[in-house]
Structures are given as C-alpha cells and as structure tokens.
C-alpha cells in the first residue's frame, strides 16, 4: 500500500515530532511552509506551537485564504495550537481562526507550564487506555451536533472528529502510541478513495 502524502504545517512548533509520528503511522510527511506547498498533499497536520505566531504567518501572502480553502474539504488534524486554529470560536483571549471545527476553544485553560500534565484515559479508539500529554493546553468548552467526541478529560472533549477534521487538545506526537495518527492516516486514505470514485 502506498504512503499517502500528508503535510505538516512547519511555521514553528513540534512539526518534526509529527513528521516522525506520521511516518510511523504509514504516511509520507511533507513540511509545508508556504501556501503553494499545500497543493501537493492530501491531508494536513497543524502541530503544537504558539497559535499567535502561526496566525502572524498565515496573515501574510494569502496563506490564510489558501488554508481556509484546504480545510473546507481536505482532511486536517490540529493538535493543541492546531486545535485552536481550527475552531469556530476562540476565547481567553479571543483570536482569529480558520473557523471550520464546530467548537469553542479556550486558550491556556489549564494554566501555565507548571500546570502541564501527562494523563492516561479511555477513548473510543480500540486498544485500551491512551496516554495524553497536555502542555499549556487549551480546552474544548463547547461542541456542535456534528462533532463526535472520541475522548474526554473531566467532562470536556479532548479528542474530536467532525467529518474530514480531527482535533486534539493534547499532543499524541509526544507519546509513542501511534493510534491517533493511524486514525488520521485512515481518514486521509478514505478521503483519497472517495476522490478516486468521483473521477
């Protein structure tokens, strides 16, 4: 089976860790630093990092527009800062976003670095409990009807799926368990299969 080409937004953040995780999950990772580089990939990961820094870059050179078009129908997975960027509403403080994930996300909701933590919890993924690394994490405080919750922490969603979109408030790329990335790679594969049927 050939490896689907999946982009990792490489403005800043732990994009290398995501590339490694994608490779281990059976995909071919491609670093994306410019809008035109989106054309060659069938899916995209928006990694952890600083969402304010991401926005500064996206606001230049029509990157935001290109990314908005991409996330409308191509598989995209956002972790932490990436989850903030995908959400419809961002609070604490409010900031611009791509606005495709029907959810409200509160930034730095658990506090500062000293409040960062590693938890283990149940998820909808097969194979038992999953380790979740939270670093200055945001919180998904509200989700719309079309959003499937795959895991929760203290009653708030931490891993969600909405059609071709996935988002996590933790960092699966910093754990050795590859089930979350495998699920995203499967999402990309089934999107590719649908595209082939359309042709």
């Amino acid at each position: 089976m050939s490896r689907p080409r999946i982009g990792v937004l490489a403005i800043q953040g732990d994009y290398d860790a995501h590339s490694q995780a994608l490779w281990e999950a059976g995909a071919e990772p491609v670093l994306v630093r410019k809008p035109e580089e989106l054309a060659s990939v069938d899916g995209l990961i928006i990694p952890g990092g600083e969402s304010t820094t991401f926005l500064k870059f996206l606001e230049r050179d029509g990157f935001l527009g290109a990314l908005r078009t991409f996330v409308q129908d191509k598989p995209t997975f956002g972790t932490c800062a990436g989850c903030i960027l995908l959400a419809k509403d961002v609070t604490h403080p409010p900031q611009r976003s791509l606005g495709v994930l029907d959810a409200t996300v509160e930034r730095n909701a658990y506090g500062r670095q000293i409040d960062s933590s590693i938890e283990t919890g149940e998820t909808q993924l097969a194979g038992g409990p999953l380790e979740m690394v939270y670093i200055r994490a945001p919180r998904i405080v509200k989700t719309g009807d079309g959003v499937e919750v795959l895991a929760e922490r203290d009653g708030f969603p931490v891993l969600v799926e909405q059609g071709h979109l996935m988002a996590a408030t933790f960092h699966p790329e910093l754990s050795s368990d590859r089930r979350v990335h495998q699920r995203f790679v499967e999402l990309v594969r089934s999107w590719q299969a649908r595209q082939r049927q359309k042709q």
Partner: protein, 321 residues
Amino acid sequence: MAEVHSGNGHHAPSSPTTLRLKVGLAEMLKGGVIMDVMNVEQARIAEEAGAVSVMALERVPAMIRAEGGVARMANPKLIKAIIETVSIPVMAKARIGHFAEAQILQELGVDFIDESEVLTPADEAHHIDKHAFTTPFVCGARNLGEALRRIAEGAAMIRTKGEAGTGDVVHAVQHMRQITKEMKALTVLSEQELFAAAKEHQAPYELVRMVAQTGKLPVPNFSAGGIATPADAALMMQLGAEAIFVGSGIFMKERATPLDVENDPKEREEAVSRAKAIVIATTHYNDAKILAEVSAQVTGTMKGLAAAGLDEKQLLQTRGW
C-alpha cells in the same frame, strides 16, 4: 521546597514525567524566536511580531554591559505585568546558582527559567539543581561537556552562550560549531572509547553514550548571544539551532539606549520591523529570496560591539562551568 534546598539533603531527580513535560514545552518553541523584553509595551510588540515567547528582564545584556553593577533577577512586579499582558509563554532569568531567585520565579508562574551568565553569578562552584523544580530551565553552553553537565543538573533546553549584548554573532557561531563537531565526533567512537570521552568532556557517561547513539542532544538545542539581524538568525538555524533567542538586537538603539517604543512612534516602528523580520527569517531560514525581502524591510540595526575587541574580563560567556 525549603528542605529540598537546605544544601545538605539528598533528593531524587525529577520524575520522567516532569522531564517529558519540560522538554515538551521546549518542543513547542522550536522554529521560533524568544525575545528579551524590558516592559509591557515591548512584550506587546514581541507578541504582535510573532515571537513564541518573551524573556522578561529589567536590562537587556547591552545595557548591563554598558552600565555595570550587579545584574539580578527582574522585579516580580515587572514579570507579573508581562505575564498578564501576553498569552505566549513568559521566561525570566535567575543568576547562576541562585536557587532562591528560581524559587521566586517558579512561584510567579514563569514558564521557563533561564539560569543565565548574563546576570552576575551568585555561586562560583554550583549551578542550580534544576531537578528540584517543576518549571523547566534553559542554560547556556559553549561546548558539549558544558551542555551535558547542565542537562545532568536537569536543564530541559540548551542554548549557545555566544557573547550577549554585543550584536556580534561570532561567538554564537563558534559555540554552535563546537557543540555540533563534538557530537559528530562521538558518533564514530567505539563503546570502549566512550568512557574516556566522558572523562574528557567531564560529563556523565550515560549522557555521552546517548549523544553517541543519536548524534544530537537529548534536549532541544537553541541559539543565543549576539544575534542581531534576520541573516544572523538564518545563519544559526542553518548551523543546526532549533530556535533563536534575541536579546539586545530588537529594542536597542545605541550601546545603552533602548528605542523609545512607548513614546516615539517612529522608534516603535523600527523595533516592530526588526522583530517581524527576525521571526520570518527564523522560519524561512533556508529560503534566500524571503531572507532578502525581510532584510530589506528592516529599518536600522543595533550598532553593536565587536566581540574580538573585548577583554577576557568583559566576557559574559566565561561565567558558569
């Protein structure tokens, strides 16, 4: 914490979980720029320009160098004001060996502590035991042995020392090349030779062996000390730095005079242009076309001080061991 720091008690190193979280935050800062800021307005400019973090301090290295005196941890009032202003992580500096300053910084909720040679050292023999803290630490290094000694003490991030406050990148280059060269050399040694290598580097054998196997440090490796232009940032990234610290390069005008970003719109604009350009250059460090564009957008660069003209006694990088 009090009994942990009594100075004679033994305590276990921080748990693997804590260490992973510390290094995890450093991972999130990769590919970004961390900017020294001395007031709330500078912090705002840094965040607007796309900095991934700010370092709160009362005087940037160029001013410390020019004005002299004892350089200490910043006033908690200033640090708190900056924490309340920006949503990005906030770092602050503690003096080498001054674990009480570090305890205060941790209490304030600072996200990263820089045990820094830029401040006047408080202990001539011992660095801070960084395992005793939940807050991650970054430390400077000039060579691999120094980097590994800091990591053994619990540092979650290493940065080159360079020569802070000069605007001269030459020593940052020297330190990055030195660390890279020494790491490469380890990778071709046999298992037997690693014991002698550990002795030579005056670093723990386990860490030396880890570097020999992977060819890189077990924590992120950033660069600091004299980076003043977008081209400097690109140079350090191409030499293997994973992120950039900029101190005096953004907000300084003359040797000890900062740009007046609070009252002079033109000087504010100059600081903004430098900050933005360095951020873009750090992401696109391999793209000469973009580097040319952003370098052209910078209005004015700090005058600087040639590091070669400094006396041994004036060097900040020789502090720490």
